[in-house]
Every structure is written in C-alpha cells, then in structure tokens.
Symmetry: C2
Subunit: 152 residues, 2 copies
C-alpha cells in the first residue's frame, strides 16, 4: 500500500474550509466545476474532468464515508481510473492560530506507480486551489486547473 | 519507510532540465537562492532557507550520490531536519514528445509524519518552480517560494 499525503494551512475559520470540502458546491469551487451528487454519509458524488475546450478526459465516483463537521471528510472511490478504485481520500481539519490546517491523504494505493506520482503533484495544485478558494473566493477547479505534465 | 513522489512535465529539452538539477546555479533558480557547494559525485551541496525579510528558517546539506547526464540526479541528505537525515532525493528524467518528464522521489522517510505531508506539498510547489524556471527563465526559489501553511 502507498499513500499520498499533503499538509496545507488556510487563513480562514475551520467552518469555511469544512464547507468547501463537505458540499457539492464547495468541491466544485476547487476540484472540478463538474461535481454532482449528494454529499451526505452513504451518498455518492461524481466528479468529471474536461479540457478547457470541452473534451471529457476522465472522472470518478466516490462514496461519502464520513462527514464530521469541522473535523473530517472521508471519501472512498468506487469508479474511475482502475488504480483509484477502493482508495480513500481523507481530509482531517484542525485549528492552529489563524490557520485551519488540512491534513490530506489519498490512501491505500496498491502500488506507488507513475500515475500516483502524477496524482500527488495534481493533488498539491488542487490543495492550493482549495486554499485560494477559501481565502480569496476563487479557486482553480477543472477545466481551469493548473496543468502539470503531458497527462493533464 | 515512506516516500514522497511527484511527476512533472516540462516543455523543454532534457539537457535544460538536467542543467537545472545538476548545477548549483540551476538549483538556486528553483529551490533556494542560498545554494552553495560542489555539484559533482561525492560533492556536498548546502541549501539554506530564509524569510523574505532575511530571517534564517532552516537548511540542509546533501551529498551528491549520482549525476547521470540527462538521466538522473540523486542526493542524500546528511544534515538538516532530523527527519531528513539519511533520506534520498532522486530525479529521473525521460523524454515524451515535447515534454521532459521528471519523476521525483524524496524517499526513505522513516515515518509518514505530518512534517512529511508539509514537505510533500512544498516539493510540489518547488517542482512547479522548476518547470517555470526552465520554461520561462524564472522560477520561485526561496525566499520567494510559494507559502503553503503556518510552517512555511
């Protein structure tokens, strides 16, 4: 098993960060505009990704495992890239002074493949997008996401 | 053991990317302006980090383990944060179409601690800085690096 982990600090109340992670509207503001579904425990959220020109390049569905207000959001991927199925995305929130700290993990990859290295970089840019969304009101969700390599 | 891995694609000849990784001047252009030492196998490089106001916040020394032109750069950290000592930074280069692909690993952490999550995010921003340096001539090395949380 292999994990991606990132830590980001956001100058905002913990409730604002939680809202950006625990609602469909929030996720659409930093990860992908094409976010639909029901963000509640046991619910399913679908995220789709397209190029700026509108060509679909991928997507996944996740089950909402845990929503603990101002503390934790936990998703499990149930469809999408083969490598993602059965993996977990977990956001643990805490307050340190002026910052809300997000400890992010995309955990339980079966192998540390090259695609995982791509996803690690990409999650890093999406964590910055989350920070920008909450701090400034404007993130960089797909299709206006930061491009990092020849895969996306 | 735990590893940070990232994949970035840079629209530039592989020799330009290698130069940015294998020379002191190159590293000073994307990681930290305060880079000194000798970049040759068996040589030692020191990197220091300061705030924009000039306050020293940290640093490390690494031994250059491998320099394989246009293929690989491998450093091993010999002083700095306790968690970094004995860990390896490895950059594997390859060409894919117009892109030079950098497979980066900061490997052999003894534990996947919160500081590793911070460093994973931070390496992501430095990989973007490397990409910007090589593609545009201007990176974001410390002290002008992207700040991600309350630690730096």
């Amino acid at each position: 098993m292999a994990d991606i982990i990132h830590r980001v600090g956001i100058k905002a109340p913990i409730s604002k960060v939680y809202e950006a992670l625990a609602t469909v509207e929030g996720v659409a503001g930093w990860w992908t505009k094409e976010t639909t579904g029901e963000s509640k425990p046991g619910g399913t959220i679908e995220v789709l990704f397209s190029t700026p020109a509108g060509k679909r390049i991928g997507g996944m569905k996740m089950e909402v495992v845990t929503l603990e207000p101002n503390k934790k959001v936990h998703w499990r991927f149930i469809s999408g890239p083969e490598e993602w199925i059965g993996t977990d995305a977990i956001f643990d929130l805490s307050q340190e002074g002026d910052y809300t700290i997000v400890l992010f993990g995309h955990k339980n990859w079966r192998q540390a493949v090259e695609f995982m290295a791509h996803c690690s970089m990409k999650w890093g840019t999406f964590m910055m997008s989350l920070k920008e969304l909450v701090e400034t009101g404007r993130g960089k969700p797909s299709p206006n996401d930061v491009k990092i390599d020849n895969w996306n």
